[in-house]
Structure formats: structure tokens, C-alpha cells
């Protein structure tokens, strides 16, 4: 087990290192941050001063080595735009994104599992056809369009929900959470639904496929032949077994929900990491871009690890050492 964990850790360091190098070169290739950040009126003296102030006068490899040296000590550089440590900027914005992603993921499971179960048990009913058709829409409609439609319907036409923003927050354990007040919750509802839409469809399809497959298994037939109630067959024998792929995929999806909440966050003006990264990319704020991607890579690695561990608990046939 510990050998396995150690190997994963070494892999993680390698990935983070490679990623930082790619981003460094990538941002350099896109353009010069000073050209974007500087006031158009600035004269040549001011331009030179800005280049020096941001440390961009050195050759790229030297900039990268300086960055590495500091990164080892936990300093990922200061944002060009905010003049604050990039890492703390990201960590400030992280709770908002985590909250959104968590609510979206939990919502996807709460909505997706029952619907998928129903569609799997009654594959030919009209209800399941509607559910399956709906899940295709959930897959194929672009997030930004759905988001705008949600705003137009629930905020502009009906006036039920606030159009954008995060609303009131309550401070618990040093971070702000919005699901604890009605106002915060009403702000959270639409962006979470928008973010969850894809995942709801995914869970529906996974569950349905799992149920259809499992229902034909010998142990299910045997259980029914034994005269167990349909309820027990479904929720004990079938349900447990279909959970394995659902847990894996939702777990992995959780990472991408956080990393790719960019679109939803910018449409709903949700003050999370996604909005920060898109604003930072627009102005080539390299320290923030690099730090953000490093955080995301670390997060993905952690989530994958947790998924693997959970998997081995749910399915005793899986042995981690054997991989």
C-alpha cells in the first residue's frame, strides 16, 4: 500500500513539474503581459520599468528557474494584476467554486440515480423514454446557452431567482458559505443546476445501463426465485453493484466540475476560481495561471487517488498493489 502511495506521489511531482514548464512556455508564446497590462499612454521609460518590475526582462529560462526556486519554498509568485500572492488569491476563491461543484455533484446524484433506476427497471415505459430523451439534451446543449436560458426564464421572465452573483454568505470555519441562508441558496440554485445538467444525464445513463445489465445476472434471478421482495432485490442486490461505476465516474467528474466551472461562473458572475482564471488568462497574468493549473493538477491527482481507494473498498476484487 505505502509503495503504491509513494509511486503515486512521485508521479504527481513529475506531472506538476511538466505542467508548470508547459504553461510557462505557453504563456510566453501567446504574448507579452506588459503589452496588455500597461496603460496605452505609457511611454518607453514606463514600459521598461514595468517589464523590470514584473521580472520579465530576464530570459525565459532564467525566469523559470527563479520561479522553480521559489515554488520549492511554497511561493508561487505574485499576481501581476493584483500584486498579491497567486496561491492565496486562488485559495480565497476556492470555497466558492468547491461549494458550487459540491452542490452540483450531490444534486446530480440525487436527481440522476432515481431517474436512472426507474429508466433501467422500466425500460419500455413512456416515462423512461422521456427521461432518456431528456438526458440526451443534457449532454448536448452547450452550458453557456442553457445558463442564459435559465437566467431569462427564472430571473427575467418569472422573477423567482436572482440573476447573478453569490448573495449573502455566512462565515463558518473561516470561509464564506452561501448554502446556509435562503438568499445565498437562491443565488446558488441556478448556477448549480447549470453545472449539474451534464452530470445528471451522465448519472442517469450510467445507472440505467448498470441496472439493465445487473438485472440479467444469475444472482438477481436467484434472489427473485428465492422469493425476495422486488424492493429488496432492487435496493440491496442490484443497487450495490451498480454503485461502483457511478462512484468512479462521479468522482472523476468532480475534478472536471471544479476545473471547468469556468463557463458557469462567468455567466452567473460567481466569484470562484473559474472566473479568476478566465480573467487572468485574458490579461496573461502568468503567476495566477501557473498556480491555478498546479492546484488543479494536484486536485485531480488527489481525487483519482481517493477514487481508486474507494473503489477497492466497494469492490474487494480490486487490489491496488497489483496495478
Amino acid at each position: 500500500m505505502s509503495v503504491y502511495l509513494l509511486r503515486r506521489l512521485i508521479q504527481a511531482v513529475g506531472v506538476v513539474f511538466a505542467m508548470s514548464l508547459i504553461v510557462f512556455i505557453g504563456v510566453f508564446a501567446i504574448g507579452d503581459p506588459v503589452e496588455i497590462l500597461i496603460s496605452p499612454d505609457a511611454d518607453q521609460i514606463e514600459r521598461e520599468r514595468a517589464v523590470r518590475a514584473l521580472g520579465l526582462d530576464l530570459p525565459l529560462w532564467q525566469q523559470y528557474l527563479i520561479f522553480l526556486g521559489k515554488a520549492v519554498q511554497g511561493d508561487l509568485g505574485r499576481s501581476f494584476v493584483f500584486n498579491e500572492p497567486a496561491l492565496s488569491l486562488i485559495l480565497q476563491k476556492m470555497p466558492a467554486t468547491l461549494e458550487l461543484a459540491l452542490v452540483a455533484t450531490i444534486g446530480a446524484i440525487i436527481i440522476g440515480l432515481p431517474l436512472g433506476l426507474y429508466a433501467g427497471l422500466r425500460p419500455n415505459s413512456a416515462g423512461s423514454k422521456v427521461i432518456m430523451a431528456g438526458s440526451i439534451l443534457g449532454f448536448s446543449l452547450p452550458t453557456f446557452w442553457v445558463g442564459l436560458m435559465l437566467i431569462m426564464l427564472f430571473a427575467v421572465q418569472l422573477g423567482w431567482l436572482p440573476s447573478t452573483g453569490r448573495g449573502e454568505t455566512v462565515e463558518v470555519l473561516g470561509t464564506h458559505w452561501s448554502f446556509l441562508t435562503w438568499n445565498g441558496l437562491s443565488h446558488l440554485l441556478m448556477p448549480a443546476l447549470n453545472l449539474a445538467l451534464f452530470k445528471i444525464s451522465l448519472v442517469i445513463r450510467l445507472t440505467r445501463a448498470g441496472v439493465r445489465e445487473t438485472m440479467l445476472m444469475d444472482y438477481v434471478k436467484f434472489a427473485r426465485a428465492k422469493g425476495l421482495s422486488p424492493f429488496r432485490v432492487t435496493f440491496v442486490h442490484v443497487f450495490k453493484n451498480i454503485l461502483i461505476p457511478v462512484v468512479t465516474v462521479t468522482g472523476l467528474e468532480f475534478g472536471s466540475t471544479i476545473a471547468f466551472s469556468v463557463v458557469t461562473e462567468s455567466i452567473f458572475a460567481w466569484p470562484g476560481m473559474g472566473k479568476l482564471i478566465i480573467d487572468s488568462i485574458n490579461v496573461l497574468d502568468r503567476p495566477v495561471i501557473v498556480a491555478y493549473l498546479m492546484v488543479i493538477v494536484l486536485m485531480f491527482i488527489t481525487i483519482n487517488l481517493i477514487v481508486d481507494l474507494t473503489y477497492s473498498v466497494l469492490d474487494p476484487r480490486v487490489r491496488l498493489e497489483g496495478k
Binding site: 505609457a42 521609460i45 514606463e46 514595468a50 518590475a53 514584473l54 505574485r78
Partner: protein, 536 residues
């Protein structure tokens, strides 16, 4: 915030009903106490001297004041200074406003001005500093607490204009102030109309009014200043009633917003010119990077060095079509940098006529009867409808025989290459200060790092006679004479087609009917420009 506005609406309705019921004749004016504004560009810092950037400057204007303020038309008006004049060729004297206090009660004096000027060049890590405004000043002399003199290195007529960019901080409160201190809100203490209650970076800033503001307190008790970068979401917020006031109204939504009974727009011709810069760097017998003959072979000469070609390219453009069809009326065709009514606008400069026939004749005269091929570069995320304008120009040029391909890129990539003069022709914009010396020095003047000229002269235009006159105007302290000189400079640039002006953008804000707004030519979105509408 939305709640409070709706509540206010309900109260007015209630008041109206009770007025009916009791036959009362006076309905108490129920004024909204909170103003919720949404802006399209994120504010990145509350430090007034960290990043020279319009959204930051707008917010800094709400918190801090300047010696010289500008009105909606960008004319200089008294601010923290009540009067100023040049008392010698290199000395400007400012009389300061008495009895002004900072938000924390500290009195405002000449020491604060001196401390501010001291800080301008010394803000660590500033991506675009305000140092340029302290550079012309050799020495600061405090005559008495309410009189200050700036001694400049050379005669410097632009000092009052420079002062419209310098927000005054306190010598005591802001000793050793850091950008983080400002950003946290703790040091965001000025003499301006609003004080900061809370700053959530990239999301919103909550203000309350400064009841002691020297120009009179705002009618709004609180202002919620939100950043919603997505255009559609900002408009939707206004339509939904969550937001009272938005800026950067997308041109595609103009018709819908105009038709909405609950809303209205405020607009003004701005100071931002969209124009085409041409390659003046390559000599007449050199190849320009993106110009070939009609078969794609190098031309062996740079046609853009011939003024007839430049004029033909300018005459080929139907500016009225661009402003009406692409800009939906949110722009005015232009023949120069500044709009009418501003200092040094050239009133008698004829409009550029759309004349494709004449353009073809001029091209033939210049030796290109069959035209040539050119690539027009443009950003696609910087100016309103930028890449669509470039497409239209490309078609108009092609119509006179200059076969044009258009390449639009993101600003981040575009601006660096434009700065290195890698393009033959490119579309770009410029937001002027209301003084022609500003665009002339930066865009038309020959590149010269010592003088600080031509930093944005991406076409590398150069004209010795023009430079000479411009230089003379920069040490002329008599504004009348100076204006005449600047008008001549601009006339020279126009005759030589140094750049091809397209249009000046209109600045547009949208708000509920219960509000009125003084639209600013400088595009700044500030709460002090918004008031409840006069009762109808």
C-alpha cells in the same frame, strides 16, 4: 440588494395607495437608498496608484479626489484645488480647498499632495504606474498648508491635465501604504464621495456615502458596485431587476433595451477613436510584410509610403455604413482623434468623403491601376465589433482593387505583434485625453524614447515638420496659442493621412427609469454621476 430595491418599489406603491385613500396631495418622495451598479470590466485594485486602468480609475474616483477634476465633457474643473495658474515659465501654483477631510477625519493639506507625488513612482510591482505624472516635476514647494507650487524641469503646459489623473492620498494615513492595504479596504480612505465598506476582489465593492463630501453627499446611502464581465448576464441582471445600472451595453441589445418601458439609456460621443494604422516603417523601395502583387509575389516597394495610396484607402471606406450597420448607431464617423467640443478639436477639417471611384483613380495615378494584395490585421476582443469592422473595411478595399484578407486575433497576441510593426495595416483604437497633444505624441509623433514619444506609434509614422511644431506646442503655456499649434499639427497629420480614422465610439449606459446619469466622454462608470430621476 435586489430585495431592497423591490422593497422600495413596493413602498412607493403603498405610499401612492395611501395617498389616494386619504386624499393627501403630497406623496413623500420615496428615494431608493441603495444603488446597485454592474460594470463589464473587473476592477483589479483599490490602490489609486498601482495600475493605470480605466475600471480602477473609476472606482478610485469614487473613493479619492484629485486636485483638478474633469466634468462629464472632460473639461478641467476645480477639485481639491480651487484655482491654479502658471506663475512663472516653470512654476505652477495650486490653491487648495479649505476644510476638506479624509474619511477618517484627517484634514487635507498641501502635505498630502506632496506625499502623493512622492508615492507615484514608488509603488512596487506596478504593472502600469503613474510615475509619468511626477516625472516633469523637479521640486515641490509647500508655501502654506493650502498653497503648493510645482517647479518643473522645463515649461510644462500639461501639468493641470496631468493632475486630473492623480488621486490624492493622505500623508499620515498612507505613510508606507501598500497595495494590499488598499485592496483590503483598510487604507481605501480618501476625500471622495464614497467610502469602502467591503471589497471582494473581482466580485463586488460595497460603498456607503461620505456625508461630508465637499461637492455634496450622494443621494444614495449605499452603492453596490458589481463586476459582471459577461455581457448577456449583465443585461439580464438589469432586465430581471437585480441591477439598477449597467455600463458597456452590447450594441446587439440596444434595440431591446430602448424598447423596454422600465429602462432608458444615457449616451455620449466618447474619446475613443477606432482607426487603421499603416506601415510607414518600410521604405518606398522595400517590401511591407503583408503586401504582395495580385499574383502573390513580393511587390518590391511599399505602396503605403505614397500618400495617394493612403488617401485612396481612406476614401474607399464607407464610414456611415459601418457606424449604422455594424455599430447599430453607437459610433460617429470621424476624421480626427477628438470629438467636437473638446480642446484642440479641428472644427473645419472636412469629413472624409466615401468615394470609391476617386479612390480607384488615385491608385492608378500612384501606379497601381490593378491594385495589390494586402492583409488587414485586427484584434477580435478589444473594441466594440472590432473584427466585424475589419471585415467590412476589407470588403470596401477589395472593391477598389486592393484585394484584402482580414486576420483577427485575440488582443493578447495581436498587440505585441502590432507593437513590433509586424503588420502592414491594422485596426486599433485609442482613448484620448481631451487634448490633442496626447494622441499626437503617442501615435503620430516619431518614436523617441528620450522624449517619451510614439510609444503607441505602431505604424511608425514619422514627419519631421510635424514633430517640430508638436514639440514647440509642448512648451507653450498660453492655451490659446497652444490650441492653434495643435490644430495645425493635426491638420498636417490629416493631410498626410498619417492614420486612417474610422469612427469615435459612443459610450452607452442603461438604467431604470427612476435614475438619471450624466454620461462621461471618458467612459468611467462612477456612482457620483447617477441620481434619482427628477419626479415626473
Amino acid at each position: 440588494m435586489a430585495k431592497s430595491i423591490r422593497a422600495a418599489g413596493a413602498l412607493t406603491l403603498g405610499a401612492a395607495l395611501s395617498a389616494l385613500a386619504f386624499g393627501a396631495t403630497t406623496a413623500a418622495a420615496q428615494q431608493p437608498t441603495t444603488l446597485t451598479m454592474a460594470v463589464g470590466s473587473p476592477v483589479t485594485s483599490l490602490d489609486p496608484h498601482f495600475h493605470q486602468l480605466s475600471p480602477n480609475n473609476a472606482v478610485a474616483d469614487m473613493i479619492f479626489s484629485k486636485l483638478v477634476e474633469t466634468d462629464a465633457q472632460a473639461r478641467n474643473v476645480p477639485g481639491l484645488a480651487t484655482e491654479w495658474r502658471a506663475i512663472g515659465p516653470t512654476t505652477w501654483e495650486f490653491k487648495l480647498r479649505p476644510n476638506v477631510r479624509f474619511h477618517n477625519g484627517a484634514p487635507f493639506t498641501a502635505e498630502d499632495v506632496a506625499a502623493t507625488m512622492q508615492r507615484l513612482p514608488n509603488v512596487p510591482n506596478a504593472p502600469s504606474s503613474f510615475a509619468a505624472y511626477s516625472r516633469p516635476i523637479a521640486r515641490i514647494e509647500i508655501v502654506d498648508p493650502l498653497t503648493i507650487r510645482f517647479h518643473t524641469h522645463a515649461p510644462y503646459p500639461l501639468l493641470p491635465l496631468d493632475m486630473t489623473n492623480v488621486r490624492i492620498i493622505s500623508a499620515t494615513t498612507h505613510a508606507n501604504a501598500t497595495t494590499e492595504g488598499f485592496n483590503s479596504g483598510a487604507l481605501a480612505i480618501g476625500t471622495g464621495p464614497f467610502r469602502v465598506v467591503q471589497h471582494r476582489s473581482g466580485d463586488r465593492i460595497e460603498f456607503e456615502r461620505n456625508a461630508e463630501y465637499f461637492e455634496g453627499a450622494s443621494p444614495f446611502q449605499r452603492v453596490s458596485y458589481r463586476m459582471i464581465t459577461n455581457d448577456a448576464a449583465r443585461t439580464a441582471g438589469l432586465l430581471a431587476g437585480d441591477i439598477d445600472f449597467i455600463d458597456q451595453v452590447p450594441t446587439t441589445d440596444l434595440a431591446r433595451l430602448r424598447g423596454d418601458q422600465r429602462l432608458h439609456l444615457s449616451e455620449t460621443v466618447g474619446l475613443r477613436l477606432v482607426f487603421l494604422a499603416l506601415d510607414h516603417l518600410r521604405g518606398a523601395d522595400e517590401n511591407s510584410p503583408h503586401i504582395t502583387d495580385n499574383d502573390g509575389r513580393p511587390l518590391g516597394r511599399n505602396p503605403l509610403k505614397d500618400v495617394r495610396v493612403r488617401r485612396a484607402l481612406s476614401m474607399a471606406i464607407d464610414r456611415a455604413a459601418i457606424t449604422s450597420r455594424i455599430m447599430d448607431g453607437a459610433a460617429t464617423p470621424a476624421n480626427q482623434f477628438l470629438p467636437p467640443g473638446t480642446f484642440s478639436h479641428v472644427a473645419d477639417l472636412p469629413a472624409i468623403r466615401h468615394d470609391p471611384e476617386g479612390a480607384r483613380r488615385l491608385l492608378a495615378e500612384a501606379g497601381y491601376p490593378n491594385g495589390f494584395r494586402i492583409q488587414l490585421n485586427s484584434p477580435n476582443d478589444r473594441y466594440i465589433n472590432d473584427s466585424r469592422i475589419a471585415q467590412a473595411v476589407g470588403q470596401m478595399w477589395t472593391r477598389i482593387g486592393v484585394r484584402t484578407s482580414v486576420e483577427a486575433q485575440t488582443w493578447a497576441t495581436f498587440v505585441g505583434r502590432a507593437g513590433r510593426a509586424e503588420y502592414s495595416a491594422h485596426l486599433i483604437g485609442w482613448g484620448s485625453n481631451p487634448d490633442a497633444s496626447h494622441p499626437m505624441r503617442n501615435i503620430i509623433g516619431t518614436q523617441n524614447p528620450q522624449r517619451g514619444w510614439g510609444a503607441s506609434n505602431r505604424g511608425r509614422y514619422s514627419n519631421a515638420a510635424l514633430d517640430e511644431l508638436l514639440l514647440a506646442s509642448l512648451s507653450e503655456l498660453d492655451d490659446g496659442k497652444r490650441e492653434r499649434m495643435l490644430i495645425d499639427v493635426q491638420r498636417m497629420a490629416a493631410e498626410d493621412v498619417a492614420i486612417i480614422p474610422l469612427h469615435i465610439q459612443t459610450n452607452i449606459w442603461a438604467m431604470r427609469r427612476t435614475l438619471q446619469h450624466a454620461p462621461r466622454v471618458d467612459e468611467l462608470t462612477r456612482a457620483q454621476d447617477v441620481r434619482p430621476a427628477a419626479a415626473r
